[in-house]
Each structure stands twice: as C-alpha cells, then as structure tokens.
Symmetry: C2
Subunit: 355 residues, 2 copies
C-alpha cells in the first residue's frame, strides 16, 4: 500500500519560492526512495498576493483546512504595513487552525559554526516548544486618552488552562522520547497571574510523567543559560511572547536563521499543521540564488516526521546536515553553491540512499 498525503504549498514572497522549490525537489527524492506520495496544491499567499488582491488568511482557510499538512516559505515585503501579514495571516492561521505548539529544534549541526565560542554539537541539542495561540499574542488591549499627554495603553495577555495544558502535555511527551527533562521558562516572579497558571499546569502534569525531570528558568536568566550552557536543556516549554524571543536566541546559537526551522503543530487533528523555515523573505537577496534552503528542507523533514514518514524524515535531515557541513558559508555569494545546487545535492543524497 502506498501512503498518499495532501500537502498545501505556500511559497510566499522573496526567497520563499526558491527555498520551497528546493524543498520540493528533496521531497520528490524522498517519495521515490521511501515509496510514499504527496498530492501538492500550490497557493498564492503573502505580501505580493495581498497587495494585488487584498486577500489574507481568511480567503484561504477553507481550502487549506482539508490538507494533511502545509509547507510554508516566507512572507513579507517592505510595501506592506508592518502587522498586516503577521496578524492577518500568520497569527490568524496559528489561531484558527489551533496550531497549539510551535516547535523549534535548537541543534548545532556538525560543521556549522556557532557564534558562541567553544560551543560543540554535543552540548547543543534541545527543542523549544512555544505556546502558539494565546498569551500576549491575542493582540488585545485598549488605549484611553489616545493622542493626549494622559494616554494610557493597556495590553493584555490571556492565558487559559486548556491552552497551556495542551502544549505542556505535548512537551512532556516529547521529553519522554528524548533526554527526559522539561524546563519551564517564564517570569513567574513578576507576571504573577499568568505565571501561577503556567507553573500550576506544569506541576499538575508532572505527576503524570514521573520519569521526566522538571526545571524552571526565568526568561531573563534564559538569555544566559541558552548561549552559555545549552546542555542544561532538553525540552523547554514557554509562552507565546517569551517563545518568540528565546527561539530567535536559539537560532543565533545554532548558527543563524539559515538553518533554523519550525513546526506549528495542531495537536488534535482538527486542522493541518504548518512547517516553515524561520528566516524571513529577505527581499534584498531574492532571485540571486544566495538563500540557503536548509531551513526550508529541515522544515520538510519535520513535516515528514509529523506525517508518519519517519525514515524519510531522518534521511532528509541527515542529507541536509551533511551538505550544511560542506558549505564554506551559510548564505550569500560565499555559500559556494547556489540555492538550487544545495537543494539538488541534498536531493541526490536522499535519492541515492547515501544519507
């Protein structure tokens, strides 16, 4: 029996189409070798599309909902007012599709230089799980006396037991299959209401996972521990806003946005999960072949793992890691190969069974 999966492909803006193109070439190779199939539907979305049509997530939602997974390039263009795509597309998808967990592996791959002196791959192998649907990202607030010297802006962070529970439970299960350590990252000494609820959920669920060691680190202290002692962490779970911040720090440590990747997981099966590289649309280098497709290809590996094609996922990741180690630089003219050459090389390693 051949498994077949429906995959929505959203190349987006800037370098998005290039890196997604490479990812699809690698997907072809994986299908051939591992004997599964994907039915791909490509959708226009992003800044260019919005400028042409005014359409954001709303118009796409129903078409995407029936898909097994979404492979996402990148979005953004200086001509679109900041906030429009973020709130109208990215957050809208995360919230409407209940992509409750934003999962970002922080791994230093062999041969990829970290800006942190002396950091080695063995010491840097963790996953950050970010709550992806609530907290400060509800984006609600109110302003009184706007435009006057007495203006006051109140910004809200809404945290529900249900929302926290699903992402913490997922994190415990993830830790069970790894080094069995879960660290909560928050600022419970200051954000008392939200912090208490987070800590309470972690404490309650810890009883169900006695094999998992539980730890806590303040978000400010995380800025120390993550770069200097990443070996301290296995799975880190945190709220939406803190997750946004510390995952970018994680990407720095592992050698930059070019190699960082993420999954936006729907944990209940009610809607598709979404997989994307972490880098932006980089309009300045679009079309030059300077973009590193590794982030996008690693997001493909996460997608394959999620769909249940574990062998294919591992092969794609291994091939990417091998090629990353061969590149003289991680992006730009100095990368030594073009975007499509990197993709082709990874596809070749996957197809030939060398990885």
């Amino acid at each position: 029996m051949t498994h077949s999966y429906s995959v929505a492909v959203l190349p987006g803006d800037g370098i998005g189409p290039e890196v997604v193109g490479s990812a699809l070439e690698v997907l072809d190779a994986a299908e051939q070798r591992f004997g599964f199939r994907t039915e791909r539907s490509e959708f226009e979305a992003g800044a260019q599309h919005y400028l042409r049509t005014g359409e954001l997530f709303d118009e796409l939602a129903e078409k995407l909902r029936s898909q097994d997974a979404i492979l996402f390039g990148s979005m953004g263009d200086p001509h679109v007012t900041p906030g429009i795509l973020e709130r109208g597309f990215i957050l809208e998808m995360r919230q409407r599709f209940e992509q409750a967990a934003n999962v970002r592996p922080v791994r230093l791959y062999p041969g990829v230089p970290s800006p942190i002196t002396g950091l080695t791959p063995e010491r840097c192998e963790l996953v950050i799980v970010r709550e992806n649907t609530e907290g400060a990202y509800v984006g609600r607030g109110s302003t009184v006396h706007a435009g006057t010297p007495n203006a006051v802006a109140m910004q809200e962070s809404l945290n529900t037991r249900a929302g926290i529970e699903r992402v913490v439970d997922f994190s415990f299960r993830l830790a069970l299959g790894r080094r069995r350590k879960l660290t909560l990252c928050h600022k419970t000494n200051i954000l008392v209401a939200a912090g208490q609820l987070w800590q309470e959920v972690v404490n309650d669920l810890a009883r169900l996972y006695p094999e998992v060691e539980v730890d806590y680190v303040h978000v400010d202290a995380m800025c120390f521990h993550l770069p200097l002692t990443p070996e301290r962490f296995d799975v880190v779970v945190t709220d939406n806003l803190f997750g946004d911040i510390i995952t970018d720090l994680g990407a720095v440590i592992q050698g930059g946005l070019g190699v960082a990747t993420s999954a936006n997981l729907n944990l209940s099966g009610s809607a598709p999960s979404m997989f994307e590289a972490i880098h932006g649309s980089a309009p300045d280098i679009a079309g030059k072949g300077w973009a590193n497709p590794s982030g996008a290809i690693l997001s493909l590996a996460l997608m394959l793992g999620h769909l249940g094609e574990g062998d294919a996922a591992r092969a794609v990741e291994a091939a990417t890691v091998q090629v990353l180690g061969e590149l003289p630089a991680l992006a730009g003219a100095e990368m030594g190969m073009s975007t499509s050459e990197v993709g082709a090389r990874i596809a070749e390693l996957v197809a030939s069974g060398q990885a």
Copy 2:
C-alpha cells in the same frame, strides 16, 4: 568648597557585603584624590533581614528618601519564596522612588573575553535604557475559575504616555552626548496598543532631537542583532519586560554578570537614584572571596557620575577596566586575586592617580 553627598549603603545578602565593601574602599580612594566627601549610612535589607524581621522596602522608604544616592549590593536567598523580595523590595523601590530609567551600559572592556566569537571592544559600546516603573511590571492581572480546567489568567501591561515620555526623552538626551542614535526595541506588530503608544512617543520626541537618528528593532530580532552586530546600536530604549530580557543578553555579550552594572535613575529629583551590579547574591560562593567586585565598583562609577563627580567617575571606571584586563578569570578560584584584593588594587590605582 568641599562637596558632600549622603549615600545610603545597602549591602544585602550573599556576596553583596563583600563587593560593596570593595566599592566603598574605592570610594574612599576617590574622595581622597578628588576632594569630595560622602556621608554614608548603612542599612540592613534583603533576604536575611526579611527572614529575621519581616521587613521589606516599606519600612526603609522614608529613611532612604532624603539620601542623595543609594549604593546597593545584591538580594536573595533560597529560603525566601521567589517573588517576595522582587516585588516587595526591588520593584517597590523602583516604583515608589520613581526610578524611571534603568540604565545598563553594554561595553566589552579590553581584556575581558566575550563568548561571542570575534567581538571586539570597538564594536560593543552601547547603553540600554529600560523603562523601570510600569508595563508588565505593574504585576497586575486576574484569574477566573482558578484551580479548575476552565481557569483563565489575564496579565496586564500598563503603559502611560507620561511614563514612556520621561524615559524616551532621557534616552534622546543620552544619545545626544554619544553617537546620536536611538533605537526603540518593542514588538509593535503584535502588542499593538502598547506598541503604538511607544512608537508615537518616539516619533513625537524625535522632532525635538533632529540630530538623533531613530531606528526600530523588534525584540525577537534584537536577539540576533545584539550579539552579532552590536555596533548597530548606541542607545536602545525599551519597555520594562523587554528591557529585563535584553539587558541580560547584553551582559552575556560583554562577558557576564560579573562586569555588568546598572543605574536606576530618578529623573526628577523627587527621590534618590539607586546603583547596583547586575549579579545576584550568589549564596554558593559567599564569603569565599571569589566574587568579582567589578560590577559593584562600576556601579559606584555610575553613581559618582550621577552625583556630578565626573572626574572621579572616569578614574574609577578606568581603574576597574585596567584591573579587569589583568585578571586571568572573571570570578571564582581562578580569578587570581580575592574579592578584596581586586578592590584594593582598583583603589590603589585610583588613589595614586595612575588611572
């Protein structure tokens, strides 16, 4: 005429008394050489004091209010429930004494190793100004259905035009005397209400400081730019919570908590400003002579500058930087000198006019 200043000294817990002791020895030397005087009053405060007496900031407030400045060691002890001292003392002082600006220089001193590969002192010379009295640090929120599966916690961030304005105006003035660049760090695309108010204040005040170039960086992107391209920044202004996070990242870059220092400035003269190293009380190494007093001594330099003793401030800073460059390690048994030897050496350089 001899200037005389009243200084409240709060050594606090753990290594606080040791490092403050060294700072006072350096202050003696500075007074001798530069011909000013301080009248010092020492106050017990911190975890030990709280455990003995139950007293927090409230009991000290009126005694401290009349002082010209406060020199602060560090606070904290595992026996005190997290949150008590933070909210009952530190935040209470910042808010009641209207210490509106938390100023943290991020400088890589020559001879101090940064964990960031290839970072040089010339590229790392910036100041982060953190709003210090409001935002998420109002610590207010509410929880409904606590203890049930339907629990919801709402956490508030309160931002006033007046509170933002005073710290942004201070930052513009600071930038005028430096490289004339001000960067706002926020997350305006998500935290819309608070973000709009911050951006509005920066835009409005920018008109009064046309010589200052204004820039904006999202807090997540700051995790990239701060370690990798700190030369991009001169003065960074940000809100209370983001400031808490990115100043710790700043401390990492400049070589760690041992050399990082901060001023909590009252900008109106209504109450004293407070000066402290950034490190905690480190109870595990207290009394061993392993603590580096440089952070505390650099906070003394900030205090002297604030009191108007600019020559003394510069001499104390220069002497500290010189000795920092001589230490084989920044703390611990490998520091090569004890806490008091480091202090004595810095004091000697100040007294002898060699720095």
